[in-house]
Symmetry: C2
Subunit: 701 residues, 2 copies
């Protein structure tokens, strides 16, 4: 084993220290006036209450699955560490979200306060808060993987031969990934439902019915709305990207043996991740601008940081891969490179389709002139059109990384390369997540500025930061989706490999003319639709209950509209919390049940088909939903900036309809699909031996 | 060759005679008052003008492809009859649509006139008109296939050995299918754009801006709107289902040799089709009811006809298959049966999701209470949810027909069975299309009743017929989509088979872990999204030009609003025509270019992957779009019937937004996807030899 392996824990610890240092910077800044502190406290309390409740609910799920996996381990289907790895994966994924959210709820008032001094000061605080999140995610992810790796290698399985060691280790790591994905799904779906229900509820009654402005403190759902930004867009996103990061590493590690690379093959993704952390830290130092920079300059500053990190990785990865795998496998380096480049390109095209500085979103804004129906048709067709380029980029990336890593000789080696390209794409996660996670903080800061009646200039500045955040968030979603597709492809190979480890004699028939594979493709292709349907309906139902509550408060609390009485914020937070908890269960369970039922009925060929169908359709649908949603949001903002009639015009009303439809698209259903793809894949791998012993159809024919 | 083969031309001729007889019945009925005649004439003239123009444009396309195919034939890539088969396929597909539309434009005023006597009389005329369409489609389809078959077998290739004969014949038949599909795509896309542009244009300016009722003669787009029902919903649907019908027959015929069934294997789908025609004729005699029957009774009458036909086919198919293939292949009968049953089940579930007598659409109607955004979210999630059951039904049908037909021994035999199940599903097309095609006639009749100020009772009756038509149309779409999926699966096998005929040594690697296959899956999975985006945008652009024209006429023609001057109807028809012609080209070309480019770059493995991805995602997306659209339409009708505030309420306005979004979903983009799936498959087969000689990637690795 190369000494470079030790870079992984080192990089992880450095990331966590850096995050700690950044959080100190945020906390050192004053939180502002008493009114600001009070609101920040309410938001903090609401967010904490939500997460406590969420974790309480999720624990039941984890305990049940722990028992199931434990039972399977006792029966010999799994190695004994699998249930524990599962639990820790869930724990650390949740912890990443929790810490990220914690700092975001401390940074929101501070950002508003800083923005009252200058735009750049506001950016610094918000960005530092995002940096904490970014580096906690990569730090915890890499640390935990390292701990499991070293524990299993040097303590528990120290006496096994190398091949058996790797097999045990990667199985535990995959289960760790499955735990992270499960938690991420709950966090994304639950948080997504919470935030959109609160948002829609606050808007529908407050803005539309009562006619009070957004973020007006008289609106009973206004705190819930701000809590939502934190539990959905921050905690949900943190858990989500933790899952992506860990998933890409474990997927390629799992293929290292089959690919013929041994322990150094396991080392490559982990060392790349460590390199990415160090490069991202360097990158963050380039995110700064003059005191009164324009928005465009700020965006350039953020981009500069990301690009510098990417270039550093591209340069240093070459000697690292050379050292780890030798000259004959240097092709793996090109897999890293293709992922890095694909990530940047997907980010760029996502921005092209969703930013109001380009034609697609400007054209979409024009459709508001003929009413809401044409806005919806326009946004859907924009999103559908935007799937073309990412599909081509991912296809090229697959082709390059597959053949560069030696796919012509062994498909496991090829798909190891595809997995590595996902690692390459996510290597810059520390900094891309930082530029992404600062958006909701700016959004919250704007809310606080509004509620505490600060100078309108402050709101203008936080709006500028927020709108910048929309662009970087769209880019971040591009990364999450692109890496999900690549990771999922590697996981298909890991599944095939796992089946062969369990039974080396097993004869796959993975041809697309084999009916179980075809049927698997159909079921997998349908799952993202079914899942999105459930999550969108869930948002609708949860929003309905908030609408009822807000209406009730407006009616029953005397003096509320006049500003003489305070609304019952906590009740709205509570209703959103309960709604989200109730609604997240069915979609999450369906992700676990679908592959198991398909496998039990139709066998492992069908599961492989299901995974392929799910990856393909899930990718396309997720891109479409994210981009439609992003474009609708920015088309609305474009009109609000004074174009086409501006705020309050009929065009604006039509744009609001688009934005409301886009909310669950881009913040609940779309991003959840990424997690769904990987969770289903990992469930299939972990349950493979059980399914192989029990499938029905293969016994019939 | 069994004598039963001669049933095919006999059945075809009987169908055409029956259609002729039905058209005489329609024409014998008086057309009503002079005003009614005049409007009917305008609609007829507009529809004819449109079709003339469409055919003029399409001829260029056919000539170009004729030359391309002719050149390929000269170079030895194809047999010499292929270019001619292609032309006749297009011609007869267009002719089916033309005749169906012709009779529909003669039946509309007659239906209004008959409805002034009784609901049942109105139904009789409209249904007879639909019957003409239904039997022209099946009659022409089967006749032309028979002619090609007998010509090639007994005249041109009489001296070849049997295996070579079948090979030549099926290649010609497949190209015939490609011609039919090309024409169908133009008809569906062009007609769909026309009808929805006119509809949206008439509504946006007439109803919303000028505040005049629907079908008001002062609206300059009102004739174009009625023309649209005929060119889109009648001529487009006719060409579409002609293509489905022919496609299912040629797909299974093409596999007959590889499946080991010889000429009798080719006979089975054609004999089943003939049987279906005779059974459908019997079925039509059961569609009648008392003079003053309620709507529910009428629906039962329509269903009775279909069910009786289906049962007849189920019974008689058994001895026929036995006779043709012998006892050992009687499993093929179960393939027929599984298709029949799957068709009925998909129809039933489609109705469940889209009819306002069931919960899903009623729940959707309730979402109108909170505005247009929740209606859109509700409708999209309803459509997504509705994909679950059809996927399961199709999966079971694939499994049953594959293994029943001997798939365990040879996958070509299995997929021959899947193709036969599509034939079984479409066997009742004569009568199901009749119950489907009468809807637009009733819709037109309602328009004429409104424009000529007939007794409101007449409009009430035509509305009842129309709403019944919505339900049967949804069922018909279920058939079209279900059969498209099954046919496309058979075509994948036909493609694989064709490659093996061209080069028996060719080694496929169709495993889903092979990157060209994976990339093919991605590209295929993205195509339906890209295609839908293009067709939806096209509707939007064409509608915009109509909006401008209608606004201009309202402004410039003095006395128009007061009813003193006549609008320039013809100009609106002309603008819609030109818009549809312009807009239909890109989507249609993309269907032909996509598989060729993919094949040239990545080879035939990738094409097979592309076809699989396209079939899966196309199926799911088409189901979703059709059902979302149908449910929005009926939710609006539900409110218009007086529920939840009725016409003019805010709920109704929100429902209208849903309906407007649903229009291109269900009448342009959704149904075009079915054709797209098959056209891409047939293009791949026809161009297979060219692609095999020129693919780039396979030479690199």
């Amino acid at each position: 084993m190369s000494w470079l392996f030790y870079l992984a824990p080192v990089g992880a610890v450095v990331a966590l220290f850096f995050a700690y240092f950044q959080s100190r910077q945020v906390m050192a800044f004053p939180e502002g006036s008493e009114a600001m502190q009070k609101i920040a406290m309410s938001v903090r309390a609401g967010a904490n209450a939500y997460l406590r409740r969420q974790y309480r609910g999720v624990i039941i799920f984890f305990v049940v699955l722990f028992v199931v996996l434990g039972g399977m381990a006792l029966l010999g289907f799994l190695t004994p560490f699998v249930p524990f790895a599962f639990i820790t994966g869930g724990f650390f994924s949740g912890l990443s979200g929790f810490i990220g959210m914690k700092i975001a709820t401390y940074a929101n008032a501070r950002t508003a306060n800083a923005a009252s001094q200058s735009l750049n000061k506001g950016l610094r605080i918000a960005f530092s808060s995002g940096t904490v999140m970014g580096f906690v995610v990569v730090g915890l992810g890499l640390l935990d993987l390292s701990i499991w790796f070293f524990l299993l290698k040097f303590v528990f399985y120290a006496n096994l031969p190398e091949a058996a060691q790797i097999q045990q280790i990667t199985q535990a790591m995959l289960t760790f990934g499955m735990g992270a994905s499960s938690m991420a799904l709950f966090a994304r779906v639950g948080g997504g439902i919470f935030t959109k229900a609160a948002d829609v509820g606050a808007d529908l009654v407050g803005k539309v019915e009562a006619g009070i402005p957004e973020d007006d403190p008289r609106n009973p759902a206004v705190i819930a709305d701000n809590v939502g930004d934190n539990v959905g867009d921050v905690a949900g996103m943190g858990a989500d990207l933790y899952e992506s990061y860990v998933g890409s590493i474990v997927a390629s590690s799992a293929l290292a043996v089959a690919a013929g690379f041994g322990f150094n093959g396991v080392a490559v993704p982990m060392v790349m991740a460590a390199l990415g952390i160090l490069a991202s830290i360097v990158g963050t130092f380039f995110v700064r601008s003059g005191e009164n920079a324009e928005q465009k300059v700020l965006l350039r500053a953020l981009r500069k940081g990301t690009y510098i990190s990417a270039i550093l990785i591209a340069v240093i990865a070459l000697p690292l891969v050379w050292n780890l795998l030798g000259k004959e496998h240097i092709g793996v380096y090109f897999a890293v490179l293709s992922g890095l480049i694909a990530g940047v390109l997907i980010g760029f095209f996502t921005e092209y389709f969703t930013s109001d500085t380009y034609k697609p979103t400007q054209d979409l804004a024009k459709t508001t002139q003929t009413g809401p129906a044409t806005v919806i048709i326009g946004g859907l067709s924009l999103g559908m059109m935007s799937t073309l380029v990412p599909v081509i980029i991912v296809s090229i990336s697959v082709l390059v990384s597959y053949f560069a890593a030696g796919g012509a000789a062994s498909f496991e080696a090829g798909l190891y390369g595809v997995g590595i390209s996902a690692v390459g794409m996510l290597a810059t996660l520390g900094i891309t997540l930082a530029t992404d996670a600062y958006g909701p903080v700016a959004d919250n800061a704007g809310g606080i500025a509004e509620m505490t009646h600060m100078d309108p200039e402050v709101r203008r500045r936080t709006d500028a930061l927020d709108s910048l955040g929309n662009t970087t968030a769209a880019t971040g979603k591009g990364f999450a989706i692109g890496s999900a597709a690549l990771t999922a492809l590697a996981l298909i190979a890991a599944f095939v490999d796992e089946v062969h480890i369990i039974n080396p004699e097993f004869q796959f028939n993975l041809s697309i003319t084999n009916p179980p594979v075809l049927i698997g493709l159909f079921i997998g292709g349908m799952l993202p639709f079914l899942f999105s349907s459930m999550t969108m309906k869930a948002v609708g139902r949860a929003a309905q209950s908030i609408v009822v509550e807000v209406r009730r408060q407006f009616k029953e609390i005397t003096g509320l509209m006049e500003g003489k009485a305070e609304p019952d914020y906590a009740r709205c937070v509570d209703i959103c919390t309960r709604g989200a908890q109730r609604e997240m269960i069915t979609p999450a369970l369906s992700a676990i049940i679908a592959p198991i039922v398909t496998g039990l009925l139709l066998g492992v060929d069908a599961i492989a088909g299901l995974l392929a169908g799910l990856t393909v359709t899930g990718f396309v649908l997720a891109v479409m939903m994210a981009n439609s949603g992003g474009a609708w949001d920015n088309a609305k903002k474009y009109i609000e900036s004074g174009q086409l009639g501006g705020k309050g015009s009929d065009a604006h009303k039509a744009a609001v309809v688009g934005d409301t439809v886009g909310d669950p698209f881009k913040d609940t259903s779309g991003p959840s699909i990424n997690i769904l793809i990987k969770l289903v894949s990992m469930v299939s791998i972990v349950f493979a031996s059980f399914l192989m012993s029990s499938a029905i159809l293969p016994r019939l024919f």
